[in-house]
């Protein structure tokens, strides 16, 4: 756990600093689209500043900052940026950032619209919850990159991209499965039940089945090409709706995460 530091500034100052530390990496991610080494360095600077913002939040709340929307959405963008870095570097998909980095920046801007909450419910103070949220948003990173690679395939028609989109979705789906199991364990020790009939649970299950269908079709029947790419891309739309749509477009009981 992080120690609690206030940097000698008040709560309002902390909030302004938290928002600034989200908007700065958003700008750096956009600038990371520049050609050549400069672009790479700016992207790397974005990762560093973004990491610093999460450390600052961790120090403010005295815990790993994954307990409320401001921090969770920021981490979603971080997972997307990191996954982009991996696939751009290791797999050599240079154009990937053209779609993912503006998306990561947009997600960061959305995160900055939520006021940071510095109190943590005692029901969230367990490693099961932290692990659940951590793995959940890493899976979102893979789903996001999968969808963006799918878009690249739809524009470029390079068959490798469609295969890579599928591989990325497999990793995302398995991580989502693990995240849901971790979430069930957390919920059971917190509330004595491992399932709730709420819109959020139903949409998350729907997301799991949606990717399950896509991956089964791809794995068993070699369902591929343009239709598969489109279905894979739409999966991320479902994923975004499952997180952002509930409580905004679809009414749901309020939660802070």
């Amino acid at each position: 756990m992080f120690c609690s530091l206030k940097f000698g500034i008040g709560d309002e100052g902390q909030s302004i600093l938290a928002i600034f530390l989200l908007l700065l990496p958003a700008a750096l991610y956009i600038m990371g689209l520049m050609e050549g080494k400069l672009g790479q360095r700016l992207f790397f600077a974005g990762i560093v500043v973004h990491s610093a913002s999460m450390i600052q939040r961790g120090m403010t709340i005295g815990a790993i900052p994954l307990t409320e929307k401001h921090d969770n959405i920021s981490f979603m963008a971080f997972a997307l940026a990191l996954t982009t870095g991996y696939f751009s570097g290791k797999k050599g998909i240079k154009d990937l950032g053209v779609i993912t980095l503006p998306l990561a920046a947009l997600i960061l801007i959305i995160a900055s619209t939520f006021d940071p909450i510095n109190t943590i419910s005692p029901f969230l103070k367990t490693p099961w919850f932290t692990l659940h949220i951590f793995v959940y948003f890493i899976s979102y990173g893979f789903f996001g990159v999968s969808a963006c690679i799918g878009l690249l395939y739809l524009f470029s028609r390079q068959p490798d991209y469609e295969i890579l989109q599928y591989h990325c979705a497999i990793i995302g789906w398995i991580l989502l499965s693990i995240a849901l199991v971790l979430g069930s364990i957390w919920f059971f020790i917190a509330y004595g039940t491992y399932w709730l009939w709420t819109s959020r649970e139903l949409w998350t299950t729907l997301l799991w089945f949606y990717y399950g269908l896509y991956l089964h079709a791809r794995y068993l029947r070699g369902f591929s090409g343009r239709p598969a790419a489109v279905i894979g891309v739409l999966g991320f739309v479902v994923a975004l709706f499952a997180y952002f749509g509930i409580g905004t477009i679809i009414p749901a009981p309020p939660t802070q995460f």
Binding site: N118, P122, H167, S177, S184, Y194, W197, L213
Partner: protein, 249 residues
Amino acid sequence: MMTVIKFLLSFKTVTWLFLAFIAIMFVGALSLSGNLSFFSGIDETPLFTWLVAAGDSSKTWWIYLLIAMLALLAASTIACTIDALVNRMGTTHLLVKLSPQIMHMGVLFIMLGHLLTASLGFKTDVLVKKNERTAITDTTAIYLADVSVWKDRQGYDGDWAAKIWWYDDSPIIQEKTIRPVHPRYFGQFGVYIKSVTLKPEVSALIRVCRDPGALWALIGGLLLSAGGAGFLLGRFSKQRQTGTGTGMS
């Protein structure tokens, strides 16, 4: 019989079941959010008890359909898993070939857990006042001995605890302290603290559950996770062996 097995093994069947399940889930999510007050008690009692008590099938029909779809999916999963284990297993890349079946078994155990929870579970919330004994079932009761509250840096209630005595048909009275995410278990019963109040009188809102499906769901979850991890590890090791692509196509 062969027709039924062929139907369950058919990829077309699986696809349509998935699509139907997703469509019903979608309609259900909309129905649920449009009738929040009607569904507000659904998590307070086991599902089947709630369904009988709620009546109004114009609002609950999609839950019955979901259960029917899950039953068909479970039958199809069992058929496909057996078929894969009997016919498709080779000696090479066993981890990769076995992992999806382990994941399938995990899903089946999770479904079994939900079925047991929905039919045989027990859940009740009781407000227990300090120095009072409150009956839970015919043979169990809780006595609230003490309550503690700790404030956080902002001055909000940051954590709380309750010291309770648990009575059941054994002659020994058990004393335990419960806190959020630190429940206590007494035989089949789990005791959870939800909230505490200090004014006008000291009391604690306590949830008592008996969930015969939880262990099966946990086993299912572990199998699902292990199968998933095994699938990825197997694919990556296959990739390293063959030296081609990511090895997952």
